[in-house]
Amino acid sequence: METLKEKKKEAKKPATIKISGAEAIIHCLLAEGVDLLYGYPGGAIMPVYDELYKFQDKLTHILTRHEQGATHAAQGYARVTGKVGVAMATSGPGATNMVTGLADAQIDSTPMVCITGQVTRELLGSDAFQETDIIGISTPVTKWNYQVTRAEEIPEILAKAFYIARSGRPGPVLVDITKNAQIEELDFSYKHCTGIRSYNPVPKPDASAIDAAAQLINTAKKPMIVFGQGVILGHAEDELKELIEKAGIPAAWTVLGLSALDSDHPLNVGMVGMHGNYAPNMLTNECDVLISIGMRFDDRVTGSLDTYAKQAKVIHFEIDPAEINKNVIADVPVLGNSKETLSLLLPKIKKNKHEAWHDEFKKRYKIEYDAVIKDELHPTKEGMTMAEVINEINIASGHKAVIVSDVGQHQMIACRYSKFKQSKSNITSGGLGTMGFALPAAIGAKMGAMDREVVAIIGDGGYQMTIQELGTIFQNKTPVKIVVLNNEHLGMVRQWQELFFESRYASTVMCNPNFVKIAEGYDITAKRITERKDLKTTVAEMLASKDAYFLEVMVEKEDNVFPMIPSGACVTEIRLK
C-alpha cells in the first residue's frame, strides 16, 4: 500500500471554506471513515486523483490493474470488515468495467460505493470522448445511483450514497460526477445522512409475527433452520447460536451464510443447495417447521419450488420486504434486522432438544460421508482431490483463515470442506457466480484484515480472468496466499457436459500457461505440486510465508462435485454420484 507516497501537503481545511468539488469528494470520504479505496485513474476523474495525491497520508488509494479488480477488491474489503468498500474509475470504459462488480455486490448485498468520473456537463449526451450513460447502464445493478453535475451537490449526494450502501439490506451505489463538478468550487460542509423519507431500511418488527414464530418453533417436532448472509450482515451470530442451542434445532447454512456459526458446532448440519450436504437437503422436505433466517430462497438453494418444503410451515426472518413470498410463501414472515428480531424471539423460545430428529441428520451425514466425503478427503486414487487440499489448509491454518473462493468446482469444494471458527471468513461470489472474483477480492480482504491469513482458492479458469491483479499484489506487497486448483478444465461446465450433454466437452479444455513463471514475474514466491506427498509441506510453507505466495496444485482432471441436485430438480433428487 505505498503507491503514491512521497510528497505530502498541508491537508484538511476548515469545513466551511470554498474548495473544489474534487477536494470535497476527499473530505466526504474521510468524513465517512474511508481510509482505503481501490481504483484506476483516467481523464474524467483526474481532478479527484490530483486531490488523492495531496491527501495520501490520510487516504490510501490502491491502483488495481483493471476497474473490475477495483470493485471486487472493494467487495472483499467490505465483506471481511463489514464496512463500505469504495472503488473509483474514470468515465466510459472505466465505468463500464465496474458493472460486473456492481452486479455482484447487488445480488450478494455487499455495501459498496463506486465513484465514476463523467464528461463535463456541457458534453453530456453528445457522444463525447469516453462518455457513456453509466447511470442508465448501472441502474438495474445498483441499489441507488446518481449523476452529480454541480459541485454543490457533492456532500449531500455522497452522504446519501454511504447511508444507502450500508443501511438496511446493503448494496452497491454508484455516483457519477461530471468533470466540471470536480473542478468548480463550493462552500463545503458535511452532514451525515440519517434518513431518507422514501426509504425505510429496517422494517420495525411486528410483535404478533414474533409470537407466531415462537409458537410454531415451540410446538415443532422436526424444526430446521436455514440461515444466510443476513445473519452476518445483521451481526446476529450470537443470537443465532443461542436460538439453535436453546431450542435444539439443527441448522444449515447457505453459501453466503458460511462462517456465521462454528463449522464444528454440533447442531451445524452443513450446507443446503445444489452442491450442499445430503442431510439438510433431504430433510428440507421432511421438517415440519422451516425457519429461514436472512436468506432469500435462491434457486440454487431450493431446486424446484413446486416440491420445496411443501410439508413445512415456513417462518421467514428477513430485512427486505421484497423477498417475502418472492420464491417461497412464508406462513409467518418476520420482517426486521435479524439481530433485533432474534433477540425479541429468544425469550419466548422454550428449551428443547430434538435428539431423534437430529439423529436423522447424523444418519444422512453418514450416508454422504461413506459415499462422497471419505473419498474426497482421503482419496485412494493417485490424483489429488480439491477437497484434500482444502482440508490441508484447514488443518494447517487452524480453521482460522479467511477463505476467498472464485466460482466453479473449487468454489463448491471450498464451501463444502472449509472449516470456520469466525464470522466473515468466507468470501465468495454467490449470487452472480462471477469467475475472476477471488484474486482481487482476496486483495481487498487482506487489506481489510491484515492480522488474518487470507487464502484465495481459485480454479485455473477463473484465475486467468483477473490474473492481472498479481500486479496489484506485487506493487503493494499484499501478503495474500493464492492457491490455484488446476484441473486443466473449466471444471463445473465440464461436469455438466459430462452429466447432461453426453460428455461433449465444448470449449472446456484449458491449455494453460506456466503459472509459476507468471507469479515469479511479479516477484511472488511460487510452487507447483503434482504429488500428494508434497501437499502438507508446501501448504505449511505457504502459510508460514510472510509475503504473498502462489501455490498451484495439479488435481484430478475429471472429478465431479457431489452431492448434486440437478438444476430445477427437487431437493430430494440429490445425487451422491
Binding site: 447511470i135 441502474t139 438495474p140 449523476q147 444507502i164 423519507r197 422514501s198
Partner: protein
C-alpha cells in the same frame, strides 16, 4: 395463474432516472407496460406513476414489492379495475369537411359525449375522456370517415380505498 388487468400506483420522489429504474423491473420479468402516466399527486413534490399491466396477481404483487424497494419510491399499490375509478383521454384530428358533408359525424360527437376542442379551416379536434372501450367505440365509428391523427393517453386512476401517503411521510418526520 390467470392474467388480469392491474393498475399500479406509485408515489415517488420526482427524480431523474426513477422512471428508468421502475420500467427496468418490468423489463426483467418481460412484462409489457400497457399504459403509463406520470403526474403530480395530491402531495406537494410527490409524483405519481400510474402503470397498467396485464399479468397474474402473483407477479403484480412481486413487482409492486420490487418497485417499493427502490430508494426514491415512497409507496406502491396495485388494484384491479373494480377497486379504482379510472379514465383515459383521447384526441381525434378529423378533416373539417366531414363536419359539414357527413351528417353522421355530428351524431357521433353527440353520442360519444366528446368535445370539440378546436375547429380550423382544414381540421377539427375532438377530445374524448372515458373508459378504453368508449374511446375504442368512437375510434371505430370515426374510422370509416378518416382520422387524420389519433392519440390516447395512459390510464389515470384513483383508488376507492385510501392511499395513506401523507401519514407515511409524517411518520418519517416524527421519527
Amino acid at each position: 395463474m390467470k392474467k388480469e388487468w392491474f393498475t399500479i400506483s406509485v408515489y415517488a420522489e420526482n427524480n431523474v432516472g426513477l422512471l428508468n429504474r421502475i420500467s427496468g423491473i418490468f423489463l426483467k420479468r418481460h412484462i409489457n407496460i400497457e399504459s403509463l402516466n406520470v403526474s403530480k399527486s395530491e402531495i406537494e413534490n410527490v409524483s405519481k406513476f400510474t402503470i397498467v399491466v396485464n399479468t397474474t396477481e402473483d407477479w403484480t404483487r412481486k413487482i409492486v414489492q420490487q418497485i417499493e424497494k427502490q430508494i426514491e419510491v415512497i409507496k406502491a399499490f396495485h388494484h384491479d379495475d373494480d377497486e379504482i375509478i379510472y379514465q383515459e383521454s383521447a384526441l381525434f384530428k378529423v378533416a373539417s369537411d366531414l363536419l359539414f358533408d357527413e351528417r353522421q359525424i355530428q351524431n357521433i360527437i353527440k353520442d360519444s359525449n366528446s368535445q370539440i376542442v378546436t375547429v380550423a379551416r382544414d381540421f377539427f379536434v375532438l377530445a374524448k375522456t372515458g373508459r378504453r372501450h368508449e374511446i375504442d367505440e368512437m375510434h371505430e365509428a370515426l374510422l370509416p370517415y378518416g382520422i387524420m391523427q389519433f392519440v390516447r393517453s395512459g390510464r389515470i386512476a384513483v383508488s376507492k380505498a385510501e392511499m395513506p401517503i401523507s401519514k407515511l411521510l409524517n411518520n418519517f418526520y416524527q421519527d
